[in-house]
Symmetry: C2
Subunit: 208 residues, 2 copies
């Protein structure tokens, strides 16, 4: 296996992913990142322009493959017969967990990063995540509405938000050191459990 040399830019993105995911944006200093990346502090502003621009680049890079896979699955579903709620839920959840949990520690790191950014206390940071997944959102909402004709638009939006929240929750808990008594699930089964949970809730719990 031949490992190509990492550029300073790549090292900064990698470390940013790790540190922002474990301390949040406000809780992580550029100095902590640049030291861990063996880079000079000024390198951040040279390559990205600012701390927030570094985060923005890291979010975009981390979410790109997830969104690509989601788009691919949506295209595929729209080509065939009207999809079931389960198919749609899988198309959303699995790219967020599988693509990322199957890449070992590195993938779990990315998952944690994405999950934490989506729930960051600061609205400005949360919007960095929202902007990345916004183009997909309307497609999902429309497809979900079609798959659940009995549910009101509000109910569909409510279910979608819950799906998004639970996915981010379990993403953010990737890499967690088995937090005490909390359920240590087999990571390979996590996606399956979450899908089962959400399908049940969508099929029987969106009456309103």
């Amino acid at each position: 296996m031949e490992t190509t040399v990492e550029t300073t830019r790549e090292r900064l993105l990698n470390v940013a992913e790790q540190r922002f995911g474990e301390g949040g944006y406000e809780g992580t200093s550029l100095r902590a990142i640049t030291v861990a990346a063996a880079a000079n502090i000024a390198a951040v502003n040279y390559h990205f322009g600012s701390k927030e621009a570094l985060l923005r680049a890291a979010v975009a890079r981390a979410m790109a493959p997830v969104n690509t896979e989601r788009r691919r699955r949506l295209d595929q579903l729209e080509a065939g017969a009207p999809p079931t709620p389960e198919a749609l839920i899988r198309a959303f959840v699995e790219p967020g967990l599988e693509l990322v949990l199957r890449r070992g520690e590195r993938g779990a790191l990315i998952a944690r990063f994405i999950g934490r950014i989506a729930f960051d206390p600061s609205r400005r940071i949360r919007e960095l995540y929202a902007v990345e997944s916004e183009p997909i959102e309307s497609r999902y909402l429309a497809a979900l509405q079609q798959a659940l004709p009995k549910a009101s638009p509000d109910a569909v939006a409510f279910g979608y938000m819950n799906m998004l929240g639970l996915l981010a929750l379990h993403q953010s808990q990737a890499l967690s050191p088995t937090p005490g008594a909390a359920g240590p699930e087999d990571p390979s089964k996590l996606a399956e459990n979450l899908v089962t949970f959400l399908v049940a809730a969508f099929d029987h719990g969106l009456s309103s």
Copy 2:
């Protein structure tokens, strides 16, 4: 209506609740809090000892009535026939939403604060929340296991974590200025919708 005078200590706790809930712990400075509370910066260390101790006191004060109500409901449920999953879910979710969403803007503020602390990026902050709800947690898990005898302990823990996560999600979105296209639910119906969603997921989605 006679309003009693607020002590500096109370004003600090009130403002801390508001600011920590809208900027997170790291994103909120003591100076921002003391200015808004019309207090001197040194007052924080005089009354609480440190920034983190102020947060700890605010968390404890905000969660006390919620935990009290949860304990009361658990006691009541344990006195009668074995409770259904729905009864247990209500006993957990409703105190977190009703007690707090029915108190107008002030209550929504507290809800947002609790929800954000529970999901803070920093583990040390998250544990401040965990410590507060820890004593109740084992009682809920045991009662849930009894109400869902077919579910494995891992599945019960998984469901509990999802319930906790979704509650915190909707708490943290209290006071949100109707975030764009996101579903603006009738706040009075929120608890009912969330319970319905969770009951369906618990009853049909915890097979593993």
